[in-house]
């Protein structure tokens, strides 16, 4: 399974996580939904949808936590009949990285995904460049940035 990254420092931790946890699809993104890396996706439209939905879920749960006077939730897991979804964030020197993982229940389990997510979090923290948070994409640059990101993620 091929992993590709817009931000190169995320690639090695992502590849290790996919191999160890047996995740089928993984997306690393900013809380705003800007994709940093992906593994397992074959279509750009799926990456865009997953990033938008993942960022929306992350924003919703963060707001619920804020209203409850809690820090953001450590992780969110959803188990379906054949697949599970795990969503969690990692604080890095480049700002928070949101991880969305989809796994096949026949292949792995939420326990393994959570276990290797801890390793992914440590790897991302140590690999992140120490130059401060990534700049936010301005609306004016959005389409070009999105196009560049998708080109990087799908090797176009």
């Amino acid at each position: 399974m091929t992993a590709r990254a817009v931000e190169g420092w995320t690639l090695e931790p992502l590849t290790a996580f996919v191999q160890e946890a047996g995740a089928r699809l993984v997306l690393l993104m900013t809380p705003a939904g800007q994709v940093l890396a992906q593994s397992g996706f074959t279509r750009a439209v799926d990456v865009m949808s997953a990033a938008a939905l993942g960022a929306a879920i992350y924003a919703s749960t963060t707001e619920i936590a804020r209203q409850l006077g809690e820090p953001p939730f450590a992780g969110l897991a959803h188990q379906g009949e054949r697949h599970g979804i795990f969503l969690a964030a990692v604080a890095t020197d480049r700002g928070p990285v949101v991880v969305l993982a989809v796994y096949d229940l026949e292949v792995t389990s939420i326990g393994l995904v959570q276990l290797f997510f801890e390793q992914l979090a440590a790897d991302l923290k140590s690999a992140s460049p120490k130059g401060g948070e990534a700049s936010q994409v301005l609306a004016a640059d959005f389409e070009r940035e999105l196009s560049d990101s998708l080109n990087s993620l799908f090797g176009r």
């Binding site: 188990q79 229940l105 792995t108 389990s109 939420i110 326990g111 393994l112 959570q114 276990l115």
Partner: protein, 117 residues
């Protein structure tokens, strides 16, 4: 079974000399249901990996036509992992010293497996 029932089932296992910890693990999701572990044992890691191993071993045993597993004893350099599958998709797991009385631990694991619903 109640949480206190799980605790007493695990207490009988950890009461065996040389047992460092015992836990009930959900096979399908690899999560800890109940645990009594000495400090330094990573319960979540043991649970996730033991459940994964149980799933794979189960498939291998079925493929080999020998039926489901009833007890495994994995001996390592500095300890041992002893596991008995229970009903309701649970595993009863013991982490022990290398020289533990495996027969006695097996007996307690089987008793605990019978007592959990």
């Amino acid at each position: 079974m109640s949480a206190s029932g799980y605790e007493s089932a695990l207490s009988r296992i950890t009461g065996v000399r040389g047992v460092r910890g015992a836990m009930l693990v959900s096979v399908s999701d690899g999560l800890v249901v109940a645990e009594q572990l000495m400090e330094g044992i990573k319960g979540a890691a043991v649970a996730a990996l033991a459940a994964s191993l149980a799933t794979r071993l189960g498939r291998a045993m079925e493929a080999g036509g020998v039926g489901g597993g009833v007890f495994w004893h994995l001996q390592a350099e500095r300890g041992a992992l002893l596991v008995v599958p229970a009903r309701a998709g649970l595993l009863v797991v013991a982490v022990a010293d290398p020289g533990v009385n495996a027969g006695l631990v097996r007996l307690e694991l089987l008793r605990a497996a019978e007592s959990v619903a």
